[in-house]
């Protein structure tokens, strides 16, 4: 009894540690005072002025655009790569998986500067395009990480059975293989989207002047003081995600039960 109470207290303390800053930020978004340190009373004004803040809204659209396009691209490239990797000899697979792990294991700062050096020597114009290429690059490993285990669990006979029953390889893939790896693909997409949204370091090195994502915008604002609208926006994003996850988490469970 004592033990379980101690365990519960430990878990609760860790969660306070993890979520206290988030709660703090949410409180800021309702703070009338412009400075973080003082509580100036409750207000909704930052939520209203947020809509009129061109710079923040631009950064938001950039962030969402990059996160969505880069994670979708990574899902396509990564899933296709998984099919191929799964059919490779063990040695080749080890080499490719080793390369795949580089962006995950390497320091973000090194990935960032290496891509920056690449874009400079290729003569690319720094902007949304370079950010996008970088994000796809660091997102692919997360997709492969999520899809590969599912792929390994697949019974190869089901695919062969589909071919045997007259399905074309593409048809067989989408009818037989894809539904089985779908959970992996989805979590890969979610993971990639999250990583892209939260990235600062790599974007910092591969963005051009005048193009900002939320992260880089916040970074430039740190010295001058963060605009309260930013807190309001972050709160909206966080709560939206929370609600979405809550809904999504409930829906597939019911579906699974029905399938069983």
């Amino acid at each position: 009894m004592m033990k379980t109470t101690a365990k519960k207290i430990y878990i609760i303390l860790i969660f306070i540690f993890l979520y206290a800053p988030i709660a703090t930020l949410m409180v800021f978004s309702f703070n009338k005072s412009r400075t973080r340190a003082k509580w100036g009373g409750f207000t909704f004004q930052w939520y209203l002025s947020l809509l009129g803040n061109r710079e923040i809204m631009n950064a938001l659209w950039n962030t969402l655009f990059i996160a969505l396009v880069s994670s979708l691209s990574a899902v396509v490239i990564g899933t296709v790569a998984c099919i191929a990797i799964n059919n490779m000899t063990k040695r080749k697979r080890t080499v490719i998986m080793g390369i795949t792990n580089i962006p995950m294991l390497n320091a973000d700062i090194v990935t960032g500067i290496s891509l920056m050096l690449l874009f400079i020597s290729l003569g690319f114009k720094f902007g949304l395009g370079t950010i996008l290429l970088s994000h796809i690059t660091f997102n692919i490993p997360y997709v492969i990480l999520c899809v590969m285990p599912r792929m390994r669990q697949l019974n190869p006979s089901t695919y062969e059975a589909a071919l045997d029953l007259g399905a074309s390889p593409v048809h067989a893939f989408f009818k037989v293989v894809f539904p089985d790896i779908l959970p992996g693909v989805l979590s890969g997409f979610l993971m990639a989207f999250t990583m892209s949204l939260d990235d600062f370091i790599i974007t910092h090195f591969t963005k051009g002047a005048g193009v900002d994502t939320l992260s880089t915008k916040i970074y430039t604002e740190v010295k001058k003081g963060i605009k309260p609208e930013m807190y309001a926006l972050s709160t909206i994003i966080f709560v939206t995600v929370l609600l979405l996850l809550f809904l999504v988490n409930k829906a597939p469970k019911e579906k699974n039960e029905r399938r069983i």
Binding site: M97, L105, S114
Partner: protein, 273 residues
């Protein structure tokens, strides 16, 4: 026929990996090993020995090792509790730790400024209980706290995953053969969770060693980490050769780490999920 077609499928990714992973790393080495005229030199690498850079590297190593250790000692009991909770809601546990990432990383870290300030939330709570005030903002301890805060999930999840994979009967077998709880832990549970521990250490140590953001936000720009030095060489000083040279030194540490995780994580699938 079937195999050659499947091989073709891997080509887009291989091309992508070569252009955006291998070639850029090659460029870091190229810049790091040449001077402005393009001649070969080791000066950029030896620059790490200079007093200023060596100090930054030492501080970085010290703080990142400390935060990795703190993360480990916080995460292991937590992962054990979670693994024993008998919830078959694996994804839910992963989610709880991924969720904070939806609040921007910089903002989350900045929030600690407010929490840690002399008159901040934590000190208010401490003074309410008549406890001594915590004055760690703008000190190395604040940086360690920021690192632990940001990277703790990357220690918890791999260890948790390693622990849930252990067959409960293996633990039962140890007890059946006479081992008490402590013996069972040190002889069975801990050794079997080593792959998770190693991948957790890798995932915490590397970003902690190379960060420049956390030190900037919580260290009050008084404490320069090696990440700050490299970042400034690229964005302000514009000396890519020196920046690349220092990065190569950093990559030696990263390589050691990767080698360690390759030895212990034989599936090559990482342990995060």
């Amino acid at each position: 026929m079937k195999n050659s077609r499947l091989k073709l499928l891997s080509s887009p990714y291989i091309v992508w990996a070569v252009i955006f992973i291998i070639v850029p790393l090659g460029m870091v080495f190229y810049y790091g090993l040449t001077d402005k005229t393009g001649a070969f030199t080791l000066d950029n690498i030896m620059a790490m020995m200079s007093e200023e850079h060596a100090k930054a590297l030492w501080i970085s190593l010290g703080l990142s090792l400390l935060s990795t250790a703190v993360c480990f000692f916080l995460a292991y009991p937590l992962a054990m509790i979670l693994a024993h909770m008998n919830v078959n809601q694996h994804s839910f546990i992963v989610l709880i730790f991924i969720l904070p990432m939806w609040m921007n990383f910089l903002l989350r870290t900045l929030a600690w400024q407010t929490l840690l300030e002399k008159t901040g939330v934590i000190n208010n709570i401490l003074s309410f209980f008549h406890l001594p005030a915590l004055n760690i903002i703008n000190t190395p301890y604040a940086i360690v706290l920021g690192m632990v805060y940001n990277f703790l999930p990357f220690m918890v999840l791999p260890i948790y995953n390693a622990l849930v994979k252990i067959d409960p009967n293996v633990v039962n077998a140890a007890k059946d053969l006479g081992a008490n709880n402590i013996q069972t832990f040190f002889k069975i549970t801990l050794p079997l969770s080593i792959p998770g521990i190693i991948s957790g250490i890798t995932m915490v140590f590397i970003p902690a060693l190379t960060t420049f953001v956390i030190s900037k936000l919580l260290g009050g720009s008084k404490i320069l980490l090696i990440g700050n030095v490299i970042e400034e060489e690229f964005t302000q000083a514009g000396n890519w050769h020196l920046g690349s040279g220092l990065s190569i030194v950093l990559m030696i540490f990263i390589l050691i780490n990767m080698a360690a995780s390759a030895i212990f994580d034989k599936d090559g699938e990482g342990g995060l999920l």
